[in-house]
Each structure stands twice: as C-alpha cells, then as structure tokens.
Symmetry: C2
Subunit: 179 residues, 2 copies
C-alpha cells in the first residue's frame, strides 16, 4: 500500500533548514574531518544530498511515470558529490541544498500524484522492482540516514575529549552500517 | 589535555535551533512514535535534553569547581524527562529547550573558564574521576548521540514504506547501542 506522501514532503522540506541551523558557522573541527580512511566529512554529506536530489530522486520518479518497469534507473554514483563539492564552501553548499531541494519539491507537487500512481513500479538496477511510493519514502529516509551519519561523524571528533563518558554515548558505538 | 571549549559552545548553541527547524510542525507520524517497547519518542528525546540541561551539565560543572573529587555528582535519572514532558506539546518543549539551553550557556560564559580549570576533576557516581573538560565535551557529544537517536527513531517509522531500499539505509541497521 502507498504511504502518506504529505508526511514525506513535510520532512523533505525541513531538512535543508535543519542542516543550515546545525552547520552554518560551525568550526571546522566538526565539519571538515571524517571518520578515517575514505569516509565522508560533513561537507561531503551535504554535497551528496545535493547530488542525490539532482540526479536520483525526482529523475527516477519521472522514469517510473514515463517508462514503468521497461527501463531501469541509471545507477547512482556514490562519489558524485566530489564534483558537486569542488571549490565550494560549506555555506555555499547549504544555500545550494536549500535551492535544489525546493526545486525538487516544486516538481513533485506539480505532478499532483494520486494514490494509484504511487503504486506504479519502476526497475532499480540492483534491487529490481520498486514502487514510486517506495522511492519517495526512501528519499525522506535517506535524509535521515545522512543526519544519522552527520551526528556520528561529528561525535567521532570528540572520541578522546569525552574521556570515561564515552561508555554512555551510543553514537560512539555506531559502526556506520555502510552509511 | 583540555579540549577547545569554543568548539563545544558553538555546537551547544546550535542544537535547539536545528531541532526546531527539523521538528516544529512535523506530522506526529515522525514525532510521536517510538522504536517499540519502552523506547523514546522524538518528544521524549527533546524532554530528556531539557531535563539534562536543567539537572546535569552545568550543575555538575559547578560541583567540580566547588567540591572537586570530594563529593560525587548526583546520579542522573534517565526517566526524568517523563515529568519534564507531562502536558506539554512538542512546540512548547522546543521553546523551552531553546530558553533553558541559552540560560545554561550564559552561566557557562559567566564562569570565564581558563584552560587550567578545565583540568579540574570531579567524581562521577559510576565512572569515577572525570575532568571538567570531559564533562563539557560530553555535553556536546550528548546532543549528537540524541540527534543520532532522533534520526533513527524517525527512520524506523518508514521501515516498511521504503520496501527493498531498506538494504541501502544504514540508519535502519543501527541497533541503538543503548541510546
């Protein structure tokens, strides 16, 4: 059964503002360090959210409406944020996320999707059949998985600073689960 | 060695605004459901953050400055938010968090703590000796562990809605790690 699209939109429209309030002007201690190796910084995550809005969610929604299961989605480039971020400050990326997200939501609202359309299916290149409802619900859950990641990346920077209190901080025990 | 207190304050002063942007007006689907059993809703988490600001962080900082290791901190009541939340709407709790946090940060700034004071030690009832630096760094990391929890509680509400995409969403694999 299709989910409640209003709940999804309510979250999607709040994420850019929430990240702006959390991150704008924050010292680079929090925003420009990663969790080691090839992991993302907070800046990378914001770039990834912009890139995913540009190439993934609404383009795939249009694919479902136009081609159904006949044509698989283009695969998503998990390093696509690298070009997206190049030469841009975090404040600029936050401005861009707000603008790109607002444009995507205008596009979504203009479709005026009806419940039966949410049941339409598309073809994901590795997951197989997914509904338009699954895709749009995942757009919101994807914001949340990256908010989860941002809080974990930031907490990681204080791993030593918290001393014995680390035993009580669940976020420091999170292994990332791949994102 | 003591950490950079400016970094901690920069985060602490942004959390209430970030939660306000994320949560105010959001449908109850996201904010009034938990992860099952006795787990917290998003509303409970905001109540817990207010309660911890009232009874935990700055009161313990004052304990360290006044009594050092001679007197252990009062134990923290993990159900203290229940009374804190009773009869209050989420918007009211968000207003209250903003006000209580601002008051705590005024109190912290008024102490004008010097690096050598951050090395002072207090006694935690179960963890033993902790420094004032550890305590204040943990205040910031505690905001992050609860932002991590909020994103996980919210994502949990879409566990079924995302369908096959759940395989790609790290936040749905997070087991909470106790908070």
């Amino acid at each position: 059964m299709a989910h409640n699209l209003q709940d999804t939109v309510a979250l999607l429209e709040r994420t850019p503002g929430a990240l702006d309030e959390l991150l704008r002007g924050l010292p680079e201690t929090w925003t420009h360090h990663n969790e080691g190796g090839e992991t993302f910084t907070v800046v990378d995550v914001v770039g990834h959210l912009i890139y995913a809005d540009r190439v993934d969610w609404m383009p795939r929604a249009h694919m479902i409406l136009e081609h159904g299961e006949n044509k698989p989605f283009d695969p998503f480039d998990r390093r696509g944020h690298v070009e997206e971020c190049r030469g841009k400050s975090l404040p600029r990326l936050l401005d861009e996320f707000r603008r790109v997200r607002a444009g995507c939501l205008d596009d979504l609202r203009a479709l005026n999707l009806q419940p039966e359309q949410l049941e339409l299916r598309g073809r994901h290149p590795s997951l197989g059949a997914v509904t338009l409802s699954n895709l749009l619900a995942t757009w919101a859950a994807h914001d949340l998985t990256h908010l989860h990641q941002i809080s974990r990346i930031m907490a990681h920077q204080y791993r030593d600073e918290v001393g014995p209190f680390g035993a009580f901080l669940g976020v420091l025990k999170c292994n990332g689960h791949g994102g």
